[in-house]
Symmetry: C2
């Protein structure tokens, strides 16, 4: 680890330590699994002092929560084809692709499962979903603007419905899923939206 | 704990020890939370020797997995009004009522969250959902028989869709839910089923 961080690195030393620790946490988690994850191994990998890590993150669960927060902060490319049906289909397929990729899927699956192992992780997971739903809601909001979905449709409800069946199977029921699951999740969300099931309640501000 | 179990108790001593340990696990979990749950406290409460408990369940996570297995085994009253729309609405409201009851909801919520804390618990949770979906599928199967849903509809897909939005919010996103969430989950499942989204694939046996 360089004593003098390059000036080009944004955020300074503190941001660099965080980025290194998040990367090391994800790598250790993927390789070792939650039950064998240790602050020591993460610090060794990141080249960060243990005292610094314990002071800043408290322990393994704090590191997992921060890795998820860091992931939630990252910009997420949202489909914008001009057609809300196709955008939602692509959105559901993005989630499907991320979590089922034989190589790339291991880390996000391990991260969400690890977040479910502690109260701190669960709180970070709730914030992660709120951020993702908020980012993706623009897909449904554009559909409403273009008249492809009913006026007053809550865009967050639409994107939640289009992706929830995938998360439900992956992290709660353990049921298998495939590309058809993603297609059907998006199609069902559109049917529900067009039937007015996602219209915001009178007097309730539309979220997203 | 009586030295001589009453003869009327079915299943003999082993079944009685299991029932006592499951009840004690649920009580301790609800009162103390997962992080403060100990085999010692559960055994004291159940009047069971620690050696017996460790030999049979391995530890806290084995007890949680068995409590969930015990819950999955219990018969679940499934609505049967003659109308699949009303049956599915009632089904979604049963799930909603169980988990949001101010008094009775604490234990099932704690149990599912605890199951997410270990690999053994997660496996038990997957079996729990499979059992629940299998039990409730009759609601949708009757709807198909009565011509209220398209022929070839997979009944498990229908009941999963009618309840998944509730579990998704309760255990993954932490988003609030209310009776309207249950109504909409059932209505959306019916829309999707009637649009043919849950028709079993050609050549795939219909489950449930």
């Amino acid at each position: 680890m360089p004593e003098n961080p390059p000036a080009a690195r944004p955020g300074g030393r503190s941001a660099r330590v965080r980025a290194d620790m998040v990367a090391a946490t994800l790598a250790e988690l993927t390789e070792q699994g939650y039950d064998r994850l240790t602050v020591d191994a993460i610090c060794t990998r990141a080249g960060v002092h243990k005292a610094t890590a314990y002071r800043r993150w408290g322990g393994v669960d704090g590191l997992i929560a921060d890795a998820l927060a860091s992931s939630a902060d990252q910009p997420w490319p949202v489909p914008d084809t001009g057609d809300v049906d196709e955008d939602l289909r692509q959105l559901a397929h993005q989630v499907y692709a991320v979590f089922t990729d034989a190589e790339l899927g291991a880390t996000p699956i391990a991260l969400i499962n690890a977040a479910l192992r502690s109260d701190a992780g669960a709180a970070a997971l709730h914030a992660f979903f709120a951020a993702r739903h908020g980012q993706a809601a623009v897909v449904a909001a554009r559909g409403v603007e273009r008249g492809q979905l009913p006026p007053g449709t809550d865009p967050v409800e639409v994107v939640r419905a289009a992706t929830a069946p995938l998360y439900h199977r992956l992290f709660l029921t353990g049921e298998p899923l495939d590309a058809r699951t993603a297609d059907h999740a998006a199609a069902a969300a559109l049917l529900a939206a067009r039937a007015g099931l996602f219209e915001a309640r009178p007097g309730t501000p539309v979220t997203g």
